[in-house]
């Protein structure tokens, strides 16, 4: 079969390439539910896969998409699951949400900056709630015990706090 002379070349790993794409892959893995250490590990594996089976170079955004798909595949292979709630999401939705908030390469930090500001504006109790849930990874029951709340109260407080944060971030990003 004749070769198409205009077919794109394959991607090669270089300092510059790694610099451009590593943050995006890392963040995508965190988005899918990987711990920092695991995300770090899998980042390396993603690049290794790329070295072994380099994709066609169709531009940064397309390559970033390829890296994210590879990352997801590796994460699922390792954990057999994703962040709770994401198992049923389509690849297209995952990618679309990620690109919307983190940019085509996943390296746009404006969402994190906005969120950080919004967290700062929460009251002490809400911050405490988030800290227990997301930093200390406490269960709702443990949080309820610590904060003297009902378990359902923790659930609804978390839901309200996240909704508040989401609205705050959206406002900041749109402004």
């Amino acid at each position: 079969m004749p070769q198409n002379a205009s077919s794109p070349s394959t991607v090669t790993l270089s300092d510059d390439f790694a610099r451009r794409h590593r943050v995006g892959v890392f963040r995508f893995l965190r988005f899918l539910g990987a711990s920092p250490d695991l995300a770090d590990d899998l980042c390396q594996e993603v690049f290794l896969v790329m070295v072994r089976q380099p994709p066609e170079d169709r531009g940064d955004a397309a390559v970033a998409g390829w890296l994210r798909r590879t990352a997801k595949h590796l994460l699922v292979s390792r954990l057999r699951t994703l962040r709770r709630g994401l198992e049923q999401a389509s690849d297209a939705d995952l990618d679309a949400v990620f690109v919307r908030y983190a940019g085509p390469l996943g390296d746009d930090g404006s969402y994190l900056d906005a969120l950080s500001d919004c967290v700062e504006r929460l009251d002490v109790r809400a911050k405490r709630l988030l800290h227990l849930r997301y930093t200390e990874n406490r269960s709702r029951t443990e949080i309820a015990d610590r904060l003297r709340l009902e378990v359902e109260g923790v659930k609804s407080s978390l839901r309200r706090t996240k909704a508040k944060l989401r609205a705050c971030v959206e406002r900041r990003l749109s402004s």
């Binding site: 539910g33 070295v51 994401l86 969120l115 003297r148």
Partner: protein, 549 residues
């Protein structure tokens, strides 16, 4: 699943990252400050370890050697986000020169050009006169991968669990009497062509050098002609190949017990992760003659073991019976201890160490006999009985004239009269009673503590809770009076009231107005607005430190 749900999941992941960075920036509680301080103190060592192992490959990998503590290649030390240090050396000299130039913890080395025709010097660590062998890189790499993949969780050259914080700060290598040796396992994670990470797999031991060598020979045959392990030149620890004096024998197996005989020079041992060693028959008299500090698993220790240890290690000054993964004196059930499996320690052997200065007997059942032995340790300066059930109270603790720190966190069985005894400890400076409040304790207990002239740090976290106090008036009058007495003590400088959800602003004002406190620790105080409480304290006492846990 809707797009909105995916967006909320994105928010959650971003929240985790934001909160992680905040937690790293602003450690809030006292313990976290200590943790942070510990991490900072350890950072150069961890970095040195990471630096040490890049480029180092160890030709060992047999299941005879129990896996040691595992160090995951942390992102700060093993991943170069910019790949600034990417090279493809064609010779070891070139590699060495490169490793000298760059931050080796960040180095990425493409091995492809090195694999063919390059040999690596092989020598016995700690025996400078041993013959240096030349081993082909390809053979070495195979062995290195074996070493790297000993952990089931390892994949693509990574060992997945553990943390740098748990690493002991020793990297010395030793060759013992020719039969026993302890050495530090390092690995370079490689996946065919790339060094993709590096780390310290852990401390490993072997007692049968010949068997170990036979495996090496079989693996590297026909070129491995003699004994040895190797590491490349120019590694930081080359200059200090002393006998180890601090070891953690993780997963040390019964079959390796004879190796203990080579540890006569060890001064500190942590055997909590070595279930095979919690048996009185495993140590022999005088075998650990230099040992000063010993950590044993609180849930496995019993009288026979303690008596055997007393024979083996007569010069012990620190004995810590702690649950696994507990690094501090104040332990908690959430940190690995279990009240459901409290241990009958049988502490009679402690009398064999009259010079014992630091003791932890956590998560045990302590009766009058045990307490009598402990209270006879006249040199004792620190004692933690956290998590214990005290069947007969705290005993005659006032006899411990040297006792400076007493930890009774989450204890059961304290009674009023115990506090009078505690207050009589002439040297007691620090008392941790967090979570130990019970129905048998009245306000008189706190009033009794006010009699102590030396106590300057007191943790009453979890004592004043809504179900136990009169909500209308916060602390009931008796308690309020007792607290006033305590705060009137001129010695008290530090007070923790975390988790006291009955605390009101009036109580905080009382704390602010009375006494000579320098530090107040609050947190989880129910409806109390912590910001307002902090303001009240700081307004009243500008020099005060308020810690929000």
């Amino acid at each position: 699943m809707s797009r909105t749900e995916v967006e909320m999941a994105f928010l959650e992941s971003a929240l985790e990252q934001v909160l992680e960075s905040r937690a790293a920036d602003v450690p809030r509680s006292d313990d976290r400050r200590r943790n942070a301080s510990s991490r900072r103190a350890f950072a150069p060592i961890a970095a040195a370890l990471a630096v040490a192992v890049v480029g180092a490959i160890w030709a060992l990998g047999t299941d005879e050697f129990p896996a040691g503590e595992h160090a995951s290649p942390g992102s700060e030390q093993t991943f170069d986000p910019d790949f600034k240090s990417l090279v493809s050396p064609s010779s070891l000299d070139e590699l060495r020169a490169f490793l000298q130039r760059v931050d080796r913890a960040q180095a990425r080395v493409n091995l492809a050009r090195l694999r063919e025709g390059v040999t690596v010097p092989l020598r016995v660590v700690g025996e400078p006169d041993a013959p240096v062998l030349e081993l082909p890189w390809s053979t070495v790499e195979r062995e290195a991968l074996l070493a790297a993949f000993v952990d089931d969780d390892a994949s693509q050259g990574y060992v997945a669990d553990g943390s740098h914080q748990d690493l002991p700060n020793r990297v010395e290598f030793a060759l013992g009497d020719g039969r026993y040796f302890a050495l530090d396992v390092v690995f370079v994670a490689s996946s065919g062509q790339w060094i993709i990470g590096s780390g310290r797999v852990g401390m490993r031991f072997a007692h049968d050098l010949d068997a170990w060598l036979a495996r090496i020979h079989a693996a590297a045959e026909p070129l491995a002609r003699s004994k040895g392990v190797f590491h490349p030149a120019m590694l930081p620890f080359e200059a200090s190949t002393n006998l180890p004096t601090s070891l953690r024998l993780h997963e040390f197996a019964r079959s390796d017990l004879s190796a203990l005989g080579s540890l006569a020079s060890a001064t500190r041992l942590d055997l909590r992760y070595s279930p095979g060693l919690h048996d009185g028959s495993v140590v022999r008299a005088g075998e650990l003659a230099s040992l000063r500090e010993l950590k044993l698993d609180a849930h496995r220790t019993h009288g026979d073991l303690l008596r055997a240890v007393a024979d083996a290690a007569p010069r012990l000054t620190t004995l810590l019976l702690l649950p696994r993964d507990q690094a501090y004196w104040s332990v908690s059930a959430s940190g690995g201890g279990s009240r459901e499996t409290r241990t009958e320690f049988e502490l009679d052997a402690l009398s064999r160490w009259p010079g014992l200065q630091h003791l932890a007997t956590t998560f045990g059942e302590l009766d009058a006999k045990d307490l009598s032995v402990v209270c006879g340790l006249r040199e004792l300066r620190t004692w933690s009985a956290s998590g214990c059930r005290l069947r007969d109270g705290i005993g005659r603790v006032e006899r411990l004239a040297s006792l400076e720190e007493l930890y009774l966190q989450d204890c059961e069985g304290l009674r009023d009269r115990d506090f009078a005894a505690i207050a009589k400890c002439a040297s007691l400076q620090r008392l941790d009673l967090a979570g130990s409040r019970n129905a048998a304790i009245s306000a008189e207990s706190v009033r009794a503590l006010a009699a102590s002239e030396s106590l300057h740090r007191l943790d009453l976290s979890g004592w004043f809770r809504r179900e136990a106090a009169d909500q209308a008036s916060a602390w009931p009058p008796a308690w309020r009076g007792a607290i006033e007495s305590l705060l009137g003590s001129s010695s008290l400088r530090w007070l923790a009231l975390v988790g006291c959800d009955a605390l009101t602003l009036d109580d905080v004002r009382l704390v602010a107005a009375t006494g000579s406190l320098d530090v107040v620790v609050l947190g989880d105080n129910g409806p109390l607005d912590i910001d307002v409480a902090s303001s009240v304290l700081l307004d009243a006492r500008p020099g005060m430190t308020v810690i929000i846990d």
